[in-house]
């Protein structure tokens, strides 16, 4: 089904690509191209941008290539605060709640945004006045930027759909197509095991590490037809469908399709198994695609292939669309200058240039706008990866965006970890116990009053 979506999206490419084609190098230095004020009213302003991992290509590219151009057009200089991912969440909360913070612009992950919405400047008027095409962002990214409200708290900046990264040669050897469903993953696992090939069918990650073990669990839950909460915020992940979905999710390690060690792995460690040739499949964020493409193991790099994350047999193919949004702190003294920066930073031309740059160390496939994802030249450079991502994003959704969700996530992540590490643990029992913990948090937060 995703091939049809890809074809439909690619047919739009010609029309969508036209405006970009007309952009010359000179236009890139023209404030009018980005809707910037050519009179430089904020000349000399110094903005501070709180962001993590600026060495990562998906973030480094904008910082290294573009900020000088932006400064030349506006007179505004931007300083990126570089923090490691592990300590970024804490710093984000501390800065957002600090009335005297030095930061003006902040990048935030969808789930973390809920805790700082009260400290972010609403961007609805800005989006309208700047003529930003809100429909150029997929539904999952729109939800993540608004917290499922009418207020836009941030603009999509970097976003990630879940892709199946797989070895085409291994699947060919067992005569199987890339899995469209999680049940297919199990079938392929069985086929690989039966073939006697010395490779793990799939590298999963069930370890406790920034809640990464939940990413694929969501796909199982949503695909099977259930959710974390019902419409009254009652936990329902422990219902019959939730138990079946969770058992399928845990089955990869329990059935031996994923290595025993995956019970402690994080996403990066699981990806390493694929990249170093010890696993045939991995389901993870699309920004990791380059790890496989650039693998030093020739047979891995030569057979690097990508498809949408699997769905549920007879159900949905819904996965988690993970978003980094960029917003402006309410307490910023230079809010207008920061808004100018957002115009440039999130502009489709900027985004397209970043994703087309193949400078070593700066090359990234990460884009968030549908128009850029459908761009023919972009797809050509990245072997159609953006087309696959578009297909995934069409059905992607976001997690519950309520402040209490960060309280709840540890219970869920620990439940998954317990089921993975303890082969005797009963899925229904563990999920029931977790649902009680979740309900306790929601009750304390007043969700069930009245």
């Amino acid at each position: 089904m995703y091939f049809r979506k890809i074809v439909c999206l690619l047919t739009l490419v010609v029309f969508l690509a036209l405006p970009f084609a007309a952009v010359s190098a000179q236009d890139i230095m023209d404030p009018a191209t980005f809707g910037l004020d050519a009179s430089k009213p904020y000349d000399g302003t110094q903005l501070s941008f709180l962001i993590c991992c600026s060495a990562a290509p998906q973030f480094a590219s904008a910082a290294v290539k573009g900020d000088a151009e932006f400064t030349a057009m506006t007179g505004i200089s931007v300083s990126w605060g570089d923090l490691p991912f592990g300590s970024f969440q804490e710093q984000l909360y501390l800065e957002a709640t600090n009335p005297n913070t030095e930061f003006d612009v902040v990048a935030f992950v969808d789930a973390w945004g809920t805790n700082i919405y009260d400290f972010l400047h609403p961007l609805n008027d800005f989006v309208m006045d700047a003529g930003i095409d809100w429909d150029d962002y997929g539904p999952a990214y729109q939800s993540a930027s608004t917290g499922n409200t009418d207020t836009i708290f941030g603009l999509p900046f970097r976003g990630h759909p879940l892709l199946l990264h797989y070895r085409a040669d291994v699947l060919d050897a067992v005569g199987m197509d890339p899995p469209a469903t999680w049940q297919d993953v199990s079938a392929i696992g069985q086929a690989i095991s039966d073939s006697g090939m010395d490779i793990a069918p799939i590298a999963m990650y069930y370890g406790l590490n920034v809640d990464q073990n939940l990413f694929n669990w969501y796909s199982h839950l949503w695909g099977a037809g259930t959710d974390i909460f019902d419409e009254n915020w009652e936990p329902i992940f422990n219902n019959e469908i939730g138990v079946a979905a969770t058992e399928q999710y845990i089955s990869y390690v329990r059935d031996g399709n994923s290595p025993d060690a995956s019970v402690a792995w994080n996403e990066q460690e699981a990806n390493t198994e694929l990249v170093q040739g010890r696993a045939a499949m991995f389901v993870g964020w699309w920004w990791m695609a380059s790890n496989m493409i650039n693998s030093e193991v020739a047979e891995v790099a030569d057979n690097a292939s990508f498809a949408p994350a699997p769905g549920w047999e007879g159900g949905e193919t819904t996965s988690y669309g993970y978003l980094w949004a960029v917003g402006i702190l309410d307490q910023s003294d230079d809010r207008d200058a920061a808004l100018e920066y957002l115009k440039w930073l999130t502009h489709p031309i900027t985004e397209r240039r970043i994703v087309l740059d193949d400078t070593p160390g700066l090359d990234t496939n990460v884009a968030v706008r549908l128009s850029v994802l459908a761009d023919e030249e972009v797809n050509e450079v990245h072997n159609g990866l953006q087309g696959v991502a578009s297909a995934v994003l069409a059905d992607a959704r976001t997690i519950p965006l309520i402040p209490e969700y960060t309280d709840i996530v540890p219970f869920l992540a620990e439940a998954i970890n317990e089921l993975a590490t303890d082969p005797m643990a009963d899925t229904q029992d563990v999920l029931d116990r977790t649902a009680e913990d979740v309900r306790f948090v929601m009750q304390a937060a007043g969700y069930y009053d009245g």
Binding site: G86, Q89, E90, Y93, L94, T97, N115, D118, G207, L208, N209, V210, P259, D260, A261, V263, A264, N266, E269, E273, Q276, R278, P403, T406, D407, V409, P410, E414, N417, E418, A420, T421
Partner: protein
Amino acid sequence: MRKKRWVPWVLVGPALLIIVLTTIYPLLAALYFSFHKYNLRRPAQFAIQIGENGIHIDWNLLSLNNYALAFNDSRFINSLYVTFWFTVISVALSVIIGLFIAVIVQKGGRLHTLTKVLLIFPFAVSPALKGFSWRFMLNEEYGIYDLLIDQLIVAPINALLSIINALPLVEIPLISESIVWLGDKFWALFMLAMSETWGWAPLIALMFVGALGSIDEQIYEAARIDGANRLQIFFRVTLPLLRSVILIVTMLKTIFSLKMFDQVVTMTGGGPVRATQTINYYIHQIGFVRSLDIGYASAMSYILVVVLTVCAALYVSLVLNRD
């Protein structure tokens, strides 16, 4: 000559100011927060209010709820339990291995001197990096520790068991070679303690080397004349004479073990399940990552402060008694 009373204050003033700002103020602020319902998600209401009419204290805003909550929170109780066992394992291993190293390297000679110099390096490694390194080295696919443990410990034991099993009398199951060190509750906590021991045992060894050097050689000579062998000399002469140093390093290591945080973040993430969630890690999760509940995190911190204060008082009294 007339004493200038202000001179001492001027001399200690800067240091005192720094201590007040970096230690006393945060301690008092945390104590104050611990009696409040203070969550970063919501505007806080504090008991001490400064208005146009001066300072007013609203006693209704102060409560012991956060402390009560801590002792009813199964996750906090779990973190106490984890911290206790982590402390017991890491302190015992650090002191025993440290003493063992000290006995080996205490003698003179270039190699011993070089070894003593090198001993400081593990302690100099940052705890966060230590955690990353150990996680990497324990990886079942490419970790060097995993390989060494398999080859040097598990394989010989299994070879021995295979020989025993060849006899028709017993059937002892072989040890699985694929232990997932960080995926097993016991081993994850043990390896976390080992990573701490790796850094601390050499430092403790250096402290013991100093203490061993201060023991009068005549005492050993007298023991030897009385016919004591090496083991008897070690257990009946050396160890009793090291008693005060052992107590001091034990208390010092206990204080540091109770504060374990960095390696939990980088090595285990608190898992598997909650098996390595120490108190400090849990406090950090509640205060700055999950709930943003500064009031509750402060209350839990104060419970830890009480425990640490008792340990510190014991430590100081031991040091003073020794002097």
